[in-house]
Symmetry: C2
Subunit: 533 residues, 2 copies
């Protein structure tokens, strides 16, 4: 800053020794944190990451080595600017500061899963930070917290306060959904979202990759699905290489990628590249020319789905797959005489929920045979009591009262559940609507302690009706951060949104500084504004 470069050394030292009252917060709030007013000056010149001798991960650990590189630049954002730093270097010989990482178990080239241990302890004292964790995934979370502890004073010097953190997530599944069918999102928009997810400790990217409007996933097995079903067969698709990049970018940040191939509804775009997959709708006794959900009465349908999910298994390493099952309209099935005959033969009468259940059961059997855990939208449970026990149910409908009732019923039936209904943040309104997300209490439904434990987490959903790369980032951030804290932090310590507000404001400025186009929460400014030309 122009006005400080001419400060005399004595004045600078006074500045350096001045203890600022407000130290940097961490978002989401760690489970336990003790911060002292003592602080240490940091310099990129004398700052390093290292592995403890007894750590199971050592130099060469892909995931952590890459994280050290990332977090160095995040911690010292001015590093390449030069002049400001050199100023200090002339005057102050910085003490070394070593971040020493110790991981109990190996897994340096692993893939995160539902049982990943993300806990970590972080102890910052003079000249060092000691970060210990069970897994590399916990170490990643600890590095993120560490990076948020570092701050700059008005003179751009870097500091960190003496701090003790014991931290672990409240829920194992902290997801964020992007919808790449209603609008195509360029690869870099997805990668940037993964970056920002890691900053908020989200750990599941739910990729709602295809739907009615378009089929951008370029399938190895069925290339016509994107050739004919994408908005454009070359510019608006995800190649296998694109998908790999997303998965790898996510993995390096401890984020799982759960793809969704939603059927039997939401499949209009599938039909363009896969003849006979969708049910022909009838007007009276003749086909109307339009098509309904996937045709559940043909063997070819199940063969196709089996091939598709085999491919999905080979492409997406996650142990979960989302198979949809929501919002199936029965009118087309009802109009089709072959479907009606099938219903009779199967003894379903006129109850089309039985046909849907029949279909979904077949898909769930397929994914089970592939050793995948299925996630389905709540509709499947609503229609169908005999869902395999390990299927995860995702709640997307209704007011608080209604989703609490649903959670009670589902967990009573022994199912694990994911809560998304109150976090459909594609719905926008004027003002600080993050407060609504923050007020969600995912376990306050009526049920036993055992039932509460079946809530494995939740998901923020950014559906794409009105969202593409032009407005994705400012709609997501920092609004999604509210759910991130609810899913990670201790609820009792984070009930008050007013208390959270200044921390969230500060975190939003950090996001800007990291290149995330996070919108403002209210009147004010950040030292470093978004300034992308």
């Amino acid at each position: 800053m122009a006005h400080s470069s001419s400060l005399p050394l004595t004045f600078l030292l006074i500045l350096v020794c001045h203890i600022v009252e407000q130290v940097n917060g961490v978002w989401p709030l760690p489970q336990q944190r003790d911060v002292s007013a003592d602080r240490y000056i940091l310099s990129p010149k004398s700052f390093s990451f290292t592995y403890e001798k007894d750590s199971a991960a050592q130099s060469g650990c892909f995931i952590l080595d890459a994280a050290f590189k990332r977090y160095f630049s995040i911690i010292f954002p001015d590093f390449n600017d030069g002049p400001a730093l050199r100023r200090y270097h002339v005057w102050l010989e910085p003490e070394p500061f070593i971040v020493s990482v110790s991981v109990k178990t190996r897994g340096c080239d692993g893939y995160p899963d539902e049982d990943s241990d993300e806990s970590y302890n972080l102890s910052v004292s003079e000249g060092q930070a000691v970060l210990t964790s069970v897994s590399v995934w916990g170490a990643l979370r600890g590095l993120e917290s560490l990076s948020q502890l570092v701050y700059q004073d008005d003179d751009d010097a870097y500091f960190i306060n003496k701090t003790e953190i014991v931290d672990f997530p409240r829920f194992a599944f902290r997801g964020l959904l992007l919808d790449t069918s209603r609008h195509y999102l360029p690869l870099h928009a997805i990668l940037k979202t993964l970056d920002a997810m890691a900053y908020s400790k989200f750990n599941v990217f739910h990729w709602h990759i295809v739907d009615d409007p378009s089929f951008p996933y370029q399938s190895r097995t069925f290339p016509d699905l994107s050739n004919k079903g994408a908005f454009h067969p070359f510019t608006h698709i995800y190649t296998q290489s694109d998908v790999m990049r997303v998965i790898e970018h996510a993995r390096m940040r401890g984020i799982r990628v759960v793809p969704e191939f939603d059927s039997p509804g939401h499949t209009q775009s599938w039909g363009r590249g896969q003849p006979d997959l969708l049910t022909p709708c009838y007007k009276g006794s003749t086909p109307s020319g339009s098509f309904g959900p996937v045709n559940p009465i043909l063997d070819t349908t199940y063969k196709f789905m089996e091939h598709l999910f085999k491919e999905v298994k080979s492409v997406f390493p996650d142990s979960y797959v989302h198979i949809g099952g929501d919002e199936v309209s029965f009118s087309c099935w009802q109009s089709n005489p072959d479907v009606r005959t099938f219903m009779e033969n199967m003894g379903f009468g006129k109850d089309f929920t039985k046909l849907e259940s029949f279909y979904m059961e077949s898909i769930m059997n397929m994914t089970a045979a592939l050793n995948k855990t299925s996630i389905v939208w709540q509709d499947v449970f609503d229609y169908h009591e005999r869902i395999p026990q390990d299927t995860v149910l995702e709640i997307w409908k209704g007011t608080t009262e209604k989703y609490y009732a649903e959670m009670s019923r589902m967990t009573k039936a022994g199912h694990r559940v994911l809560l998304s209904a109150p976090w459909y943040i594609n719905h926008i309104s004027y003002g600080q609507d993050w407060r609504d997300s923050y007020a969600v209490r995912p376990q306050n439904f009526s049920g036993t302690e055992e039932q509460k434990k079946l809530v494995i987490g939740g998901e923020v959903a950014m559906w794409g009706e009105y969202v593409d790369a032009t407005n994705l980032n400012p709609r997501l951030w920092p609004r999604a951060c509210a759910a991130a804290e609810r899913l990670w932090s201790n609820e009792e310590k984070t009930l008050d949104a007013d208390l959270a507000f200044p921390r969230l404001e500060e975190f939003r400025c950090k996001l800007l500084r990291r290149g995330i186009q996070a919108e403002p929460l209210f009147v004010g400014h950040c030292k470093h504004e978004y300034n992308d030309l």
Copy 2:
């Protein structure tokens, strides 16, 4: 596009000769337009702008020469890409196409004002487009329409259809307000907004430059106003040079810059750099330490305001200045014993609206003495019947019923009015809220034809509580376009939002293509998506 580069010539020629049904729309809709299915291929190699012999503007006309440069790149966005074009050049020898411009009056280095004639006629036929207008401002509007008539087919060849347009604005004042006090907007964000305004034929940039939270305007006369009142005295200010750039950028696009220096309320940030300007509030018989609106009882206040508005006059060439006058809280004035004494001496009794009127009258006299037309917010009219006749009243409050009643009263009193209340598009909601803006009918209040004529236009307002450079563009565009069409086009021809929808969708894709981060209106895609890395 990869799949078309290998097309044989014969096939290409078939494509070229194929008449597409849908020709490009123009937004806002011209007053009269006849389009033929005949179309002409355009090539940047053989396309040129020229001045008609009898035109008052000739080569060397700053404003139009600069516009020719701008619109050439807008019309041929692939020009610098090379390969696609060269393809055509090998195969087709393009016929020359000359845009010939004729302007009746000089003014090539002028500044637009309330009487600027923005009408134009545009006639596109084989090998030429003839654009005639009274003023350079009309020529700018015609060039914008021309640029929107050009489209590319699937093979990226450029076309324009035979077209006749007779066009003029419905309202002379078509404004857009940005608020640079609640959040600072970097210069480039303002310049980009001006670009997009020109695409929608907005012609007034209402710069709500200062307010309570910050005073980013760097005053020549009172540098402490921004030194102490800006969010940061170096990074969060508009220097005189910045302001010049904004004015010049706007002028080149036929856009007026009307600055707002809102007082006596909304001035907290002013007080930081100008001691004794604000009213000290009292708690009982002692000052509370906080301050209220501008202190209306001191001579020094009026001297300061006079100096400030003299500077404003010298900096901003527009004949209008916005002097605010909204939302004055009386509680601080009421608490102050000196103010109460002043009230008694003036015979105002306990009616603080009289004090406010007294203050606003003084400011209006100042601006009148400087030959500026004042715009004030409706509050000033509500409190004060004796407003100078040429003061423009801006309506910002209430439902349709209320603002219609206000418009009736104001125009009955002979005042010119600006409508902004239904166009506070900082207020967002889920879905296609542009339809609400589009449904506004600014002259449907009860009143005589003479009264209706006093509606000089309206303004879209993007207040800054929740808006900064991170989300400004997708919130403004294409939502502001709805008001742009309402203010420019014939109302009877644009009543149906469903009819407007495809044209607006197409216009939104054009905005993307021109680098404006305009958000989607609904599910779908543009050939060229926003892809800013």
